[in-house]
Symmetry: C2
Subunit: 249 residues, 2 copies
DNA sequence: ACAAAAGTGTTTTTCTTACACCCATGT
DNA sequence: ACATGGGTGTAAGAAAAACACTTTTGT
C-alpha cells in the first residue's frame, strides 16, 4: 500500500512530523573472492553503540533517493571504486524489528553486492576503517548484521544454482577454472571439473568464448581459454549443489 | 546499517523530527486459487489519489511493530479470517522509489500471502470494499501495485520449483490432483499426472498420506487419497517448470 | 454403458556421475 | 622428468518424459 488509513491507527492527514518517524537505511553485504576464500567488506564502528565492533557498510537513504540508489552510492563510497555502475547489486530483504537499533526506529533495506577482483577498500566516507574480512571469521558483528550476512550468503549460494550470478564474482574475462572456484568457494566443496565444464558450456548464454588467445593461469599448467559473461540471466537446467552427506533419505 | 553518519549527509544527533520523515508501510499480494484460477485480494480506494481504483491491501507499520507483524495484522483485518497464524506469509521486497506515492515519501515492504480455500473477504478495517479478483484481469492497479503483483506472481512461480510452497495453497488435507492444480494454475500449463505424482511422492517430506479413507473429488471419478503437508521445506531435486516453447536454444 | 478422474506400469530418452586419459606449460 | 592445471572421452547409472493401461466412481 501507500499512505492510507487502515486499522484505525495510521494518520490520514499526513502531518509529516506528527508521528514517530522511521529512519530508513541500507545495509550492504559486499562479497568477493580473494585467494580462494569468500571475503566480506566490513567497517569498524567509531562510536556507541557497538563501538569498536565491525559492521556491514551502509547509511541513510536520502530524501530523494530510492534504496537502490542509496545502496550504490554507499558501495562507491565504501569501496572507493571509481565505477560501480556495472557491479552486481541486488536487494536481499528488509529488516525492521523494533529493537534492532537501540537508539531509534530504523528500518534497513539490505543488499548483496558481488565484486570480482578486490582492491583494498579506500575507506571513503567517514567510516573509521574499511577492510576485507574472511566470511568465516567475520562475526560477531554489530546490530543484527550477523543475521544479514548469513542471509546474504545463503541467498547467493542458492542463486548460483539457477542463475548466471557466478560471473559477477569474476573479472570481465575469466577462465572456467576461475568460475568453478567461485562455486566451490561459495558452496564450500569441490566439483568435478569435466562435468562442471560441460554443464557451463551446455547452457546457452552463460559464458561465451573470447576470440583472443589463451592465458596463463599463474605459472604452472596449460594455459586456459578465456570466456566472457553471456547474455542469459537464468540457468536452465540449474546447476544443483551436490547433496550434503546425510540430508537425503 | 543502522543509524550512523556516513557520506556526510545523515544526521548523527538523532533529532527524530528534524529531517523529512519516511512513512513505512506494508503491501500484501494475497493469492489464492478459486475455481482453477489464480485470484488476488484487492481493495477499492475511497479517496485520492487513485480514488475508485483497486489496490493491494496494506497499511502503516506501527511504531512497535516489525513489518512482518504489521503484514499479519493487515492480513487478518482485510480477509476477516479469525486465525491467520498458520498462513504462509513471506517478504517479497521493498519498494522505495521517491515518487511512488504522490503525497509523501513512502517506503513499502511488500509481502506475498498464500491462502488455501477462499472465503469472500469480510472487508474489515476501513477499506471501502475488499474482493477477490482474477489475477489476469486485476490491473491496472493504483500506485506501483501492478509491478508488485507481477513480482509476487513471478516469485511464487519460482518458489514452486524448489520449495514445498504449493501446499500453502491447499487445505490441511488435499488430494494430489488438487496439488497438481496449484502448479498448473500458477504456471499456466498442464503437467503429466503420472510423472507429477511420482515426483511428489519421491520427495521425502513433501506430502504424507492421511490414514483415513479416500474422498470424492466432487462427484465423478475415482475417489482420491488424502495427503497432508509434510515437514520438508525445500524440494530436492526441484520440480522444474516445463520449458516454454522457443526459449531453449 | 459411458465419462471422468485416480492410480499403475513400461519404455525410451536424456542427463548426471565417476572416472580414465591426453595436453601444454613452468620448474 | 615431473608436477600442475586445462581439456576430452566414455561407459554405467539415475532420472525424466511420454504414453498405454487399469481402477473406481457418478450419471
Amino acid at each position: 500500500m501507500t499512505a492510507r488509513a487502515t486499522g484505525g491507527s495510521a494518520p490520514e492527514g499526513y502531518d509529516k512530523h506528527a508521528f514517530e518517524p522511521f529512519a530508513v537505511t541500507v545495509d550492504l553485504a559486499v562479497l568477493t573472492i580473494r585467494a580462494g576464500a569468500l571475503d566480506v567488506l566490513l567497517v569498524e564502528r567509531g562510536q556507541e553503540p557497538y563501538a569498536g565492533r565491525w559492521a556491514l557498510p551502509g547509511g541513510f537513504v536520502l530524501p530523494d533517493e530510492s534504496a537502490e540508489t542509496a545502496a550504490r552510492r554507499e558501495l562507491a563510497e565504501e569501496t572507493g571504486l571509481a565505477d560501480v555502475s556495472g557491479l552486481h547489486l541486488e536487494q536481499l530483504r528488509t529488516y525492521s524489528e523494533p529493537g534492532r537499533d537501540p537508539r531509534m526506529r530504523v528500518v534497513s533495506v539490505a543488499f548483496t553486492a558481488l565484486l570480482p577482483d578486490a582492491p583494498e577498500p579506500r575507506g571513503g566516507g567517514d567510516a573509521a576503517e574499511a577492510r576485507w574480512r574472511p566470511y568465516d571469521t567475520a562475526g560477531p558483528l554489530a546490530f543484527d548484521h550477523d543475521r544479514i550476512l548469513a542471509d546474504a550468503h545463503e541467498r547467493v549460494g542458492a542463486q548460483l544454482e539457477y542463475s548466471c550470478l557466478a560471473t559477477a564474482f569474476c573479472p570481465p574475462e575469466f577462465t572456467l577454472g576461475e568460475l568453478q572456484q567461485v562455486y566451490e568457494t561459495v558452496w564450500g566443496g569441490t566439483l568435478d571439473r569435466p562435468n562442471f565444464r560441460r554443464k557451463v558450456l551446455a547452457t546457452p548464454g552463460f559464458v561465451e568464448p573470447v576470440p583472443g588467445a589463451a592465458r596463463l593461469t599463474g605459472g604452472r599448467g596449460k594455459p586456459a581459454a578465456l570466456y566472457r559473461a553471456g547474455t542469459a540471466a537464468a540457468l536452465h537446467p540449474p546447476l544443483l549443489r551436490p547433496p550434503r552427506e546425510g540430508s537425503p533419505a
